[in-house]
């Protein structure tokens, strides 16, 4: 029994989500292989070979795999799919884009956002914005999963897997890359950050969001996050959104400022180790999940917090 993990990478660097996905794969029981489909991705393949628990790395290299277009990456996975009982992707924008395409082509179900592996065919996953956890069993011959990274520890290093070069699939011609607008930031990535400072609708404007929360994030070396309400109001970019339809995070410390705590937001951050809520509404639902609640006006409390750190 062999298990395939699709590596997630960008600009020649293996992304951390791959490490969590390898951990989930190891729990399915079997040899873990990693597919690196990309262009000039030798460094990524070497990094994948060093992950503990990986038995083999398959490396397909071609210009048409450079931009990770769903049609081409899915075809690359399908070219080797018959060797595997499980195919795992990280439940990221990339993994969610490709995994269902692979599953449908194999005529098998796909299981999204797996948070726990109970057995080789039985998995746990959140439904209804995390308000319920379903245990599901899949009878299909191949299990195609996306793995919620916060559910699994990152695999360590120390591996020395063999790297096998495989033929790249031809370009599907169905889609072409035009451009990418990446939010430039010196801050840690939201899903990898140890500390997150997050703002809600109470921030009032994009300027106030930045003026008040940036100093705190700078002081703590934290990533910035936002509730959907703040994103919808234009106070913060969409890729900062934490919640059911945004990013799922589980940092060591999550500081929620002016966030009321709608269930959709809680779904994205309630697995954080320590939650701090600063809100002037004593009835705000965020206080029901916060380890430390400070009932105060964030516009005075946050600057005071910055000073006392």
């Amino acid at each position: 029994m062999s298990i395939l993990v699709i590596a997630e990478h960008e600009h020649g660097a293996l992304k951390g989500a791959t490490l969590n996905t390898v951990s989930a794969a190891s729990q399915c029981g079997g040899d873990v292989h990693v597919l690196v489909a990309g262009h000039n991705a030798t460094g990524t393949a070497q990094a994948a070979a060093r992950i503990a628990g990986v038995a083999k790395v398959l490396h397909a290299d071609a210009p048409q795999l450079d931009e990770q277009l769903a049609e081409n990456v899915a075809a690359q996975v399908l070219a080797i799919a018959s060797n595997y009982t499980h195919i795992l992707f990280a439940a990221t924008a990339h993994g969610k884009n490709v995994a269902p395409r692979v599953a449908a082509k194999l005529d098998v179900a796909q299981i999204s956002d797996v948070t726990r592996v109970d057995a080789a065919d039985t998995f746990e996953r959140p439904i209804y914005a995390g308000n319920a956890i379903a245990t599901v069993q899949c009878a299909d011959k191949v299990k195609v999963l996306t793995v919620r990274t916060t559910g699994f520890d990152a695999a360590g290093d120390g591996g020395s897997a063999a790297i096998e070069t495989i033929a790249a699939v031809a370009d599907s011609g169905k889609s072409a890359f035009v451009g990418r607008e990446v939010t430039k930031s010196d801050r840690p990535e939201l899903t990898a950050a140890k500390i997150i400072v997050s703002g809600g609708r109470a921030m009032g404007s994009a300027d106030k969001f930045n003026d008040v929360l940036t100093p705190l994030a700078d002081k703590l070396g934290a990533a910035l996050g936002a509730s959907r309400a703040a994103v919808d109001a234009g106070y913060a970019p969409n890729d900062w959104q934490v919640g059911q339809t945004g990013k799922i995070v589980a940092p060591q410390l999550y500081i929620a400022c002016g966030i009321s705590g709608a269930i959709q937001h809680l779904a994205g951050m309630k697995d954080s180790k320590v939650i701090v809520a600063i809100n002037k509404d004593p009835e705000a639902p965020i206080f029901s999940v916060a380890d430390y609640g400070l009932e105060a006006d964030l516009f005075t409390a946050v600057p005071e917090l910055v000073k006392s750190l």
Binding site: P100, R101, A103, A134, Q137, K174, Y292
Partner: protein, 249 residues
């Protein structure tokens, strides 16, 4: 060109569902049901393409029980020209829905299918990608901007860390993300008009599709509860707690 839009009837996003005590599922008896919010955005986008003269007809499709007709009436009140319900009481999983939609695409021959990126009940985020795979079409998921000209689409997608723009030939499948548009309010005259629009009901067997579930739900449980902590009186106490008790800063 025709646009097909898939809409799902789900528990309203304001409802906090309860897990049934026997662990067999969540209790959705007597709770408010609505159109999946992402599907509303999908319908709105189709309407805007029609209003720009790019689309000639918008067809709304839903798969599920007879009550999904209400969801389709809402879609037609937003502006869809007609609707098709694939009626079944069987539990429908994304692969089955994708197969039903493929059968309808084969009949209706739209150039564009728009779906919400994810339903807020099962949170799967699969159906659009699966439909594109079954049709062997290109896919543009998590769209925040769609421009169509000269038989091609340029789509901006919400990805981790920012935005990505891709170009695809028609026909294609688009899945709608939150910022694609802001759906219009449904007006009473349009609700009345929607009642007179055609709504066709078919069965999965009519389309030759086997919808047997592939995944069995063994158990549905409450998530582990996170206990409320303490309220702190001031910033100084908060900092002291974070340093000495939680040891996270």
């Amino acid at each position: 060109m025709k646009i097909l839009v898939a809409v799902k009837r789900v528990v309203d996003y304001n409802v906090k569902v309860r897990v049934k005590s026997d662990g067999s599922g969540v209790d959705i008896a007597n709770v408010k049901m609505s159109m999946n919010p992402f599907d509303e955005i999908a319908i709105e986008e189709a309407m805007r393409l029609k209003e720009k003269g790019i689309a000639s007809e918008v067809i709304a499709v839903s798969c599920g029980i007879a009550q999904c007709q209400e969801t389709l009436r809402t879609a037609m009140a937003i502006g869809a020209d007609r609707a098709i319900l694939v009626e079944t009481s069987e539990e429908l999983q994304p692969l089955a829905v994708a197969k039903l939609l493929k059968a309808l695409v084969d009949k209706e021959a739209p150039q564009l299918v728009i779906l919400g990126k994810q339903a807020i009940d099962d949170d799967c985020n699969q159906t659009g990608q699966m439909l594109a795979a079954l049709l062997d079409w290109g896919q543009a998921t998590f769209a925040s901007k769609v421009q169509i000209a000269d038989g091609a689409a340029q789509v901006t997608r919400e990805v981790d860390g920012g935005l990505e723009t891709i170009k695809l030939a028609l026909p294609l499948v688009v899945t709608a993300d939150l910022r694609l548009n802001e759906p219009r309010y449904v007006t009473l005259p349009n609700i009345m008009k929607a009642k007179k629009k055609p709504l066709l009901v078919v069965k999965p067997a009519d389309l030759g599709v086997d919808v047997t579930p592939r995944i069995k739900t063994l158990k549905v449980a409450e998530p582990p509860k996170r206990g409320a902590g303490v309220k702190v009186p001031d910033v100084a106490t908060l900092v002291a707690k974070l340093k000495n008790e939680a040891k996270v800063i």
